[in-house]
Assembly symmetry: C2
Homo-oligomer: 401 residues x 2
């Protein structure tokens, strides 16, 4: 059993410190975050599959791949350090080394991460000073500032923590994330940093994070359709003394808490989608394979015609079935049914049962669920998206990301 901690964040977890400051990469908002555990942590990470990978991502990925243990993560916003070639790679290594020197730890114990404009070198003197400034002020209440410092076009910081009651005692997991442009999530940079005081070995933590990400962030951002900088990292410092071992009850409880936390983080990203006015859950059932279910859900979630219809509160189910039709999934259109919340709109054998007035009641809410059943297959999935407003155009025509 787990529950969300009020005002929970990464530093709600025993033994983790953090800070977030303005150092001068952005024009005026906080742009540098540091997460620190004096005790070394096992770590797992998932990274973008974009062919074009940012320098800090490559540096961090190599450490995690090699099975290294880490103590710190440095994150800057305002500059992605992507498409910056060998000099950019050196910048990432330099910033890693500076953090290590200030903290008195090994550079290999420091992960680095960036988000912001592509194709510009980091302002290194400014960053160097920022690292000098941020290290002394990391604290057990610094998670809030860190959550703010990783934002780009986000309008709200996103931070959560859960407390998990197990037979062996209490474990905490905290998380901060940022995601912009999430109306078409496949093109935005999404960063997520998770901390826990559980004791988890290096292989188990990888499996747990992968499964959690698959059912949360990957339902809004999918493998292969990601930005140059996407990464999600989970650090475990073991401060609770409680071991998470597969096959035990503690493992099941921990996994459930991690899944709940990451799903909430993913939802927060969607709700803060650029220009979003409505949160939409898309539930696909009856698919012949998990892949088909995901294809249908993803295509509906990404369809500008569906998203603009939702924005206009138009019960345009034709756009939903058409998107399913070109998703590449196998199904028989004669078996399709569509619901808005609990309201049937379209039933098998092309029976249209749309009640415009009742549909409008669902569409005029700020949260709604679209269900599409495509047959008798055993596979289903839930994805999240939001509507598509004129505000999105303004944000992305005017902001250089």
């Amino acid at each position: 059993m787990y529950q969300f901690i009020e005002n929970g964040t990464i530093t709600s977890v025993k033994g983790f410190q953090a800070a977030g400051i303005y150092c001068g990469i952005k024009k005026k908002k906080r742009d540098l975050a540091l997460i620190y555990s004096p005790v070394e942590c096992t770590v797992a990470g998932t990274f973008t599959l974009n062919k074009v990978k940012a320098a800090p991502l490559l540096v961090s990925q190599a450490i995690i791949k090699a099975g290294g243990k880490v103590k710190a993560i440095l994150i800057n916003s305002g500059n992605a350090n992507a498409c910056t070639g060998e000099p950019g790679h050196q910048d990432a290594l330099d910033s890693q080394a500076w953090v290590a020197a200030e903290l008195g730890i090994d550079p290999k114990e420091v992960l680095v991460s960036s988000t912001g404009v592509i194709g510009q070198r980091l302002p290194m003197p400014v960053l160097k000073q920022g690292i000098k400034d941020i290290v002394p002020i990391v604290s057990p209440i610094g998670g809030y500032d860190a959550a703010e410092a990783i934002m780009t076009t986000d309008t709200k910081d996103k931070q959560f923590a859960v407390e998990i009651q197990t037979s062996a005692g209490s474990i905490t997991i905290g998380g901060i994330c940022k995601g912009s442009g999430m109306i078409m999530p496949n093109m935005a940079t999404m960063l997520g940093f998770l901390t826990t005081d559980a004791v988890i070995d290096n292989q188990v933590i990888k499996d747990l994070l992968l499964e959690a990400v698959t059912h949360s962030f990957n339902k809004i951002t999918v493998d292969g359709d990601t930005s140059t900088n996407d990464m999600v990292v989970l650090m475990a410092n073991g401060a609770s003394g409680i071991e998470v071992v597969p096959g035990t009850e503690v493992y099941t409880e921990f996994k459930s808490g991690l899944m709940g936390l990451t799903r909430e983080m993913a939802k927060a990203i969607i709700i803060d989608g650029e220009g979003a006015t409505k949160f939409v859950e898309v539930f696909v059932s009856g698919a012949h394979s998990a892949e088909d279910a995901d294809k249908i859900a993803k295509t509906i979630c990404n369809s500008p015609l569906v998203k603009t219809a939702i924005h206009g509160q138009d019960a345009n189910w034709g756009r939903i079935i058409s998107a399913a039709g070109y998703s590449g999934a196998e199904f028989d259109p004669a078996e399709v049914s569509i619901y808005f919340d609990d309201l049937a709109i379209f039933l098998p054998n092309y029976r249209i049962v749309l009640d415009e007035e009742e549909a409008l009641k669902r569409l005029s809410k700020t949260e709604m669920k679209i269900t599409i059943n495509v047959g008798h297959g055993p596979f289903s999935t839930t994805w999240y998206t939001c509507d598509f407003s004129t505000e999105y155009i303004h944000i992305n025509a005017d902001y250089r990301s």
Copy 2:
């Protein structure tokens, strides 16, 4: 050698008649078109690969697949006759039979096509009267009205004709088309109807149309990513007496004219894209396969982040390389170069040579070309797209398609 005929349309071709009227499917605009050749025509068609196929599309596809010859095409706008089940299929067959009866020809000589709202039955009494009204008024100058009658959210009718000079004499090809929502072309209904007075046998006409569509409409609308109703049809009545036989000079001339005509039609659809203010040509070169070139071009053309940047006249090449990166194509980012028209922006080995002022000159024009070279492969492609404006949201939030 071919040239465009001023004010050319489908009835610029010898032996073809047409008409376009208002019959009552839409609120007030023309909504019914008929194309007619008293002489039977060989015919080719390409059809949507969407799993959900509209009834008229299935009826027409069956005739063309069976190698039938045809004399007429009936097209209505305002109602797609899609997701209407068995009754909708019968409606398509009935309208086909009514046209045949009025013209005194076989129902199998009549193709049917629809575009508009999904999931509503056609108003059959209104359509029946419309067919009675339209048949007597088909004429050799009716192409203009027909082009207007097939429009939905199109702001302009789209009609062209080319005259091809061959050693055997002159051949004409005419075409009308409609395409709405072409900012994300993969979700819009695209219809195209082509007429020619060449003599072309049934297999040759199929090959020619397929190749022309591949290099024109399919560079804006791709297999598998199409609406429920998409179709392009080419009818040849042989009135010129000139045979188009593979391996001959006439064949080469004809093909060149057909390709030029369909490319112009495809471009007209993009230029009329919903809310579009800029026409963008995307040229991808250096790819390892034709498929990779198409993946990259398509992903760039469909990226809302790229399209909003172009709308905002922002030289945001980072979004272009990022879209290429998640397209699924194989390439080495270190080999990528990007140009706006003739202006280099980004060169191999991550050299950024962007001159903001010069870039703005290109971006502020209403037509521009983005070139992205991704390596040393032999494959290239040209796609077409437009920018993404707030107007698009208004159109699609308010219009039920």
